[in-house]
Point group: C2
Chain length 204, copies 2
DNA sequence: GGAGTAACGTACCGATTGGTCAACAATACA
DNA sequence: TGTATTGTTGACCAATCGGTACGTTACTCC
């Protein structure tokens, strides 16, 4: 929007910061925080080391920005799909099938960056902890909305608790998928989770 | 057993290899694979660097041995508890309450080493992948046994699929707990999981 | 008491880590 | 045409990384 506006002082940036951030996200996503070196990021972006530091600060902030971008794009896409019209149970089934789909299609499954971050660095850094929490909250909100749509008698089910369950199962599925679990196992987990949710709804 | 037997040739080892492995496990457990340096292990064990290499080979093998020890002790303990006599549903409730318990009691929760390994290095290394799979299989077997005890009409429930579900939920819970998720959320996940399993059993 | 063997202790290795510095280049504004 | 400001560049940093070479020491067996 304001790309041309506000030219600011000094020499203009020669690289596309947004594009660089996408590349950075890709590296952190596949290799994790500790597994990613600055040299990796320099190679992936084509941007010199000092320029990256000038633009982003330090490694941790690059990671945070990359995770933020992932949440704004990938997570929001999932939320939108969950809020789209359609059969709620079918949408939840789709949501829980994402880990297995990724493991099935991709040669090497890099999982969900949000889940990776949860397992990777959230335990060690409060800033990452907060960002992960925020992404989960967005997801939980969309799931809760979808769950509410299952029944018009909301007293019978507890959408908030079931949304938490879905976050938990989804996280577990992503971690298991990336660690090479059998597709059968992932399918079983998805089916049993949906069975439990279906069983909890009021018998109309 | 054969501590005194087979003295072998050469200078005897001055440190207790089993004790050193326990210390190594502790460091990997809390700091992860990449987060652990050889200096950390030297400091934790009190054993010189070259002696560690002599005894264990390299860093990855130290990790594998530590994970193996964890599975042989902690995981087996859990399996035994699940197979002990008692109300099956209550035992499953206990199992799913472990992550929340750890988060509640320990100042900083280092989680379940098996789950940490699943999320940490299993995606990148086939050997670790195999070891993780083995630990999960042991757990799954005990869970399946417990689930079978819930009902005497096994056709109505699918213990194998529900065991997979429990592994998935447990993994998710451990990752979420360590990443600082609210205790409420962990409780909700546990409750909803058990509700689903309870709902699936045949109405006697 | 050798001879053989294996662990110990230390110093060391090249490579890589995240991060910085100062010279230089490109822009806006006066 | 300065001057201020900011990005680019490439060399450079101390620290640390996983791993090793080698001389010494402690043990068993002959």
């Amino acid at each position: 929007m304001n790309k041309t506006l506000k030219p600011a002082a000094g020499r203009p940036r020669e690289f596309d910061e947004a594009k660089a951030l996408q590349d950075i996200r890709g590296v952190f996503w596949t290799k994790g925080y500790e597994g990613t070196s600055l040299s990796d990021l320099v190679e992936a972006t084509g941007v010199r080391r000092a320029s990256l530091y000038k633009a982003f600060g330090n490694k941790k902030q690059m990671y945070l920005r990359a995770l933020e971008l992932y949440e704004r794009e990938a997570i929001d896409d999932v939320c939108r799909a969950l809020l789209d019209p359609g059969d709620p149970l079918q949408k939840l089934d789709w949501f829980l099938s994402l880990p297995g789909q990724a493991r099935w299609h991709d040669h090497d499954d890099r999982g969900c960056f949000l889940c990776n971050a949860t397992a990777d660095q959230a335990a060690f850094d409060d800033d990452i902890k907060r960002r992960v929490r925020e992404g989960q909250a967005k997801l939980a909100h969309a799931l809760e909305q979808t769950l509410t749509d299952i029944s018009t008698t909301p007293a019978a089910i507890e959408p908030a608790a079931q949304a938490s369950l879905l976050i938990g199962v989804y996280t577990g599925l992503r971690i298991l998928a990336r660690s090479g679990a059998a597709l059968d196992m992932l399918d079983q987990i998805r089916r049993e989770t949906l069975r439990g949710i279906d069983a909890a709804r009021p018998t109309a």
